[in-house]
Amino acid sequence: MNFPILSYMIFIPFVGIIAVLLLKKEQVQAIRWASALFSFIPLVLSFFLLAHYDSSTSTMQFVEKHNWIPSLGVTYFLGADGLSVPMLFLTALLSFLSVIASFNINFRVKEYFAFFLLLEVGMMGVFAALDFFLFYIFWEVMLVPMYFLIGIWGGPRKEYAAIKFFLYTLFGSVFMLIGILALYFTSQPHTLDMMQLISQAPLLGRGFQLIVFVAFFLAFAIKVPVFPFHTWLPDAHVEAPTAVSVILAGILLKMGTYGLLRVSLPMFPKAALYYALPLALLALINIVYGALVCMAQKDLKKMVAYSSVSHMGYCILGISALTVTGVSGCVFQMFSHGLITGALFLLVGVLYDRAHTRDIDAFGGLWAKIPVYTGVMTLFCLGSLGLPGLSGFISEFMVFIGSFPVFKVIVALAVLGVVITAAYFLRMIQKMFLGTFNTKWEALTEISGRELFTVVPLAVLMIGVGVYPSPLADMIKATLENIVHLVTG
């Protein structure tokens, strides 16, 4: 189709920024609705994307390619395949919902929404870009608004968290930059076109692959985050305002795994095979370690944050397996974790807005007071702890079954994570919602319509994917088969 849908998805939010900037500081409502509108259009477009996507082939679709900086071999090259389409949809959805969820921001509203839309531009771009230069640009563009969003509207230690996030991620991405350049100069003819680079991948020397893989891995690992690089995450997630935590957990973390699938595997097949085991071990650490650390948390939001560490571990495990099922499991996990954790952060925010505390022990017996909230929260917790029938389960199961033949012991150990996850979520539910009602919270009000509206779509999707996953599976299948084939040959 010649209609440049991807460009529209990327740049309509940008138009939104301009619109917001043109509005007056005082017209709060107008700003809110404008940004809602401009984040809603991409969502609509993303539905078109889903509708028109041809899942039978692994070739890029909705391709747009224009020369941009010939002298650097840079092109404006967008495209989507089975890997990026779900992510684009998720991005559009979560962004829109987060914008709605941010309606309760009353402080420097104009700047807030401007930055937020900029963030959306960046995310969309990363998932659509097929030219490394472009990819890197979008990758970096996100950091800036994220820095501001955390730093201005964040919690008590916001400045620290913000700069930590910025430094960490920049640190990773500069190595990616070196990697990109290295690729550019080793490719013959020199190119930044990911597709061409992939097609040239077999020609790359093993040693070269091993080194450059690490360069890229640093960038992606920090985003995911993989174990030794995870310490930015709790700070950023906890300090960030609700909507931003949603984006952080829902989209940004996925960029790491997306990068691994889009770049690391197909471009460095030999390295991918070489590093499979270490990767799996890291994944194991992520899963178990993250889960265990969750157990020790008193702060609800921090717990959810660490749970992301644990859950992204499954993604890494699936990738390291290098089997179609495992990798599909990874993509499933990316998608469902986006839904579930996004919703969890939204709900945590809902409670925090009312109670102004996130201390798990401070609550108790809330079920009696706010049953609906409890119900929704419980539902998502169950989804997160991998209850069958919800998306979390199917993705974890796929990851396991996909990687079991490869790493029997590791998987057997990783399954422990499932129980620990159950343990800390149930503990949390019990402490907060069950038990005798803590009369301190008499004044607590039930979740509002707007807030409910932000989580219901996520719940629907979560159940939908959990009960009938094949649409998503079919969509990603061809692409992932191709990727895995590229690696394992």
């Binding site: 620290y160 930590k164 430094l167 960490y168 310490t231 930015w232 709790p234 700070d235 370690y289 265990l292 650390v293 969750c294 157990m295 020790a296 948390q297 089997t323 179609v324 099922t325 599909s328 017996g365 079920w367 009696a368 169950l382 209850l387 069958p388 029938g389 389960f393 199917i394 199961f397 796929m398 396991f400 079954i401 996909g402 079991f404 033949p405 029997k408 998987v411 057997a412 399954v415 422990l416 499932v418 129980v419 620990i420 159950a422 343990a423 149930l426 503990r427 019990q430 919602f433 069950l434 038990g435 005798t436 009602f437 009938y468 996953p469 094949s470 599976a473 079919d474 299948k477 088969e481």
Partner: protein
């Protein structure tokens, strides 16, 4: 009709949805919806049973659910005689329990929610029974676990209740881990998750016996968790914190039987692996004995029943372990009826007395005749007195054990004896003698019809349900539900008589001690004080687990968070700090904000070096000149020479 039997679980699911979303505020209507739904599923399962009886073959209905290379799942149903029987059991018990609950839960604020959960449970249980693949059965397996969690913790204001729920969920899930890994092992080896195909593969020797055994044992782990077998039996007694009808439905009749059902369903795997089936048998026997012995001294009416349930489940597991597909499932069926009856009876007693402690009851026979009679009938059936259902099924198992391996038979006898004893200890203390707590006694009264009627029906069942398995029947249970070929055991009269005598002696002993009181209970207790203590404290399992598993895990978690996530980092910070101290008589280094995180450690170092280097910038023009020439000289020395 069979192809449409997917409708059966749909009714409860529908009612669940209806109640949650619409009638949560209308208790009466909700209960009607729920009961109506289960009634409908009952009717349909009846039809299924009939049609299966018509031609007892295994039939599967499936559609593609997920298709990935290496992971292909066909969702669907597997319907064979066992399934049809289970459907009956589940629907009947669940229906009766729900009716009973209308009375029992009458004045509960969350009446509607209660029924919605029950429907959800019924749905999951039916789904589990109908499953045609490892994947599907695991899904429903977890769902019943969830519902059980919700229902145990139904009175969540009670800490004990919510604790019990959590404990149940996590304990069973621990078993499920093994189950899951087992599934991975098996399915990835045979390359399919579908039962039929998997069995076919296994029988055609697609998997080495070692792996088979391993996976079989791992999968059995799931059963151990669900059916509360040793060593994961600890959750079931605590689960009694839930409403009694729930205990009756989930923790006596159906869910806990799921483990047994699983083993039965996978008979063709266990049949092929001798060691695995041996493990199963031993675990079963051991649990049966263990639980029975604990039950001897418990004072909480529900706990006694709970332990008896565990021991009975052990019985069935043992039977299956010994290859008694028929016997095991048969006992499962009969047990469902009379154990449900007993629980409901206990429920109605509790309803009347507002206590669980049998030592506060007594002489209730006069007050609540129906309950008492039905309860005693149930006990008789459980004790295995001719000609009640219990007799036939238990006899079947003992017979099997005797033929296979007498040791198990002897254990079985012992268990039977203990069973008879503790059941009638219960009966005598609760229903005979004089009232111990006069006040409670005065307020006691017979339960309403809506509760007693189910009791009567169940009593009826627990008398006659077993008769379908009378050995002399030519077309009895054994010729309907069997694995591969019918092996019709020759009834063994001596064994029957011995079994009956054992049971009777148990009853007599109880009679002597607790009715006639010719032997003093206290005396016994004191004589065997240590044993009593041990039994009374359930062999200290909870304490053991708490000490060796739960606390360590929390310790570890705490350690990881406190020490590692912050400790290591602190270490780096300190390292940086020392570095700066070593470097500096410069105060800048210390006025930086408090930090944690390796990044800041590095940051520290960087700033430190910065503070050092900047001191070269003295503002002294001539120092600058000096630096310039110094640099030049250095370069010359390095390069030119």
């Amino acid at each position: 009709m069979l192809p449409y039997s997917w409708i059966i679980p749909c009714f409860p699911l529908l009612s669940f949805a209806l109640i949650i979303f619409f009638t949560i505020k209308k208790p009466k209507l909700s209960s009607q919806i729920s009961i109506g739904a289960v009634a409908l599923s009952f009717i349909f399962s009846l039809i299924v049973l009939v049609s299966v009886l018509g031609n007892p073959v295994t039939s599967e209905f499936k559609f593609n659910w997920l298709d990935l290379p290496g992971f292909k799942v066909d969702a669907g149903m597997l319907i064979d005689p066992l399934t049809s029987v289970m459907l009956m059991v589940v629907t009947i018990v669940s229906m009766l329990v729900q009716i009973y609950s209308v009375g029992y839960m009458a004045d509960d604020p969350r009446f509607a929610r209660y029924f919605s959960f029950l429907s959800l449970f019924t749905f999951s249980m039916l789904g589990l029974v109908l499953s045609n693949s490892f994947f599907e059965i695991f899904i429903f397996w977890e769902l019943v676990g969830l519902t059980s969690y919700l229902l145990i913790g139904f009175w969540f204001e009670k800490k004990t209740a919510s604790d019990a729920g959590k404990k149940a969920f996590i304990t069973t899930r621990t078993g499920d881990l093994a189950f899951l890994v087992g599934i991975f092992l098996l399915t990835t080896t045979v390359g399919t998750v579908n039962f039929q195909e998997a069995f076919h593969q296994v029988e055609s020797g697609a998997i080495s016996s070692g792996l088979l055994t391993l996976s079989a044992i791992l999968i059995f782990g799931g059963a151990v968790g669900k059916s509360a077998q040793f060593p994961l039996h600890v959750w079931l007694p605590d689960a009694m914190e839930g409403p009694t009808p729930v205990s009756a439905l989930i923790h006596a009749a159906t869910m806990v039987a799921a483990g047994v059902y699983l083993v039965a369903r996978l008979m063709s795997i266990y049949a092929l692996s001798v060691p695995a089936s041996l493990v199963v048998a031993i675990i079963g026997a051991f649990t049966a004995f263990l639980a029975a012995s604990i039950a001897l001294v418990q004072n909480d009416i529900k706990r006694v029943l709970a332990y008896s349930t565990i021991s009975q489940l052990g019985y069935m597991i043992m039977a299956l372990g010994l290859g008694g597909y028929t016997a095991g499932t048969f006992h499962l069926m009969t047990h469902a009826s009379f154990k449900a009856l007993l629980f409901l009876g206990a429920g109605s007693v509790i309803h009347a007395m507002h206590t669980n402690d049998i030592w506060e009851m007594g002489g209730l026979y006069v007050k609540m005749r129906t309950t008492a009679i039905t309860f005693i009938l149930g006990s008789l059936s459980l004790a295995g007195i001719f000609p009640l259902s219990g007799f036939w099924s238990k006899d079947e198992i003992l017979l099997l054990a005797w033929n296979k391996n007498p040791i198990f038979a002897i254990v079985g006898m012992a268990v039977a004896f203990m069973t008879a004893f503790y059941m009638f200890r219960l009966c005598f203390i609760a229903f005979y003698g004089k009232a111990r707590d006069q006040h409670k006694f005065d307020h006691a009264h017979e339960s309403p019809k809506v509760m007693t009627v189910p009791l009567v029906i169940l009593a009826f069942l627990s008398i006659f349900a077993g008769w379908v398995g009378i050995p002399w029947l030519s077309k009895g249970y054994s010729s309907f539900v069997y694995h591969h070929e019918v092996h019709h055991l020759e009834p063994n009269f001596i064994l029957m008589i011995v079994a009956t005598l054992v049971a009777l002696s148990g009853i007599y002993l109880a009679y002597v001690i607790y009715y006639k009181k010719t032997i003093s209970a206290e005396g016994l207790k004191n004589k065997f004080a240590p044993i009593h203590k041990l039994l009374y404290n359930k062999y200290y399992f909870d304490e053991l687990y708490n000490a060796i598993i739960i606390r360590p895990i929390f310790k570890l978690a705490d350690f990881l968070f406190k020490k590692f996530d912050q400790g290591v980092i602190d270490w780096l910070v300190n390292a940086a700090g020392n570095f700066t101290v070593f470097l500096s008589w410069f105060w800048e280094l210390f006025d930086t904000y408090i930090v944690d995180g390796a990044v800041n450690g590095v940051g520290y170092v960087v700033r430190g070096t910065g503070a050092v280097i900047r001191r070269v910038q003295t503002g002294q023009l001539q120092n600058y000149a000096f630096i310039i020439f110094f640099g030049i000289v250095l370069i010359i020395l390095l390069k030119v020479f």
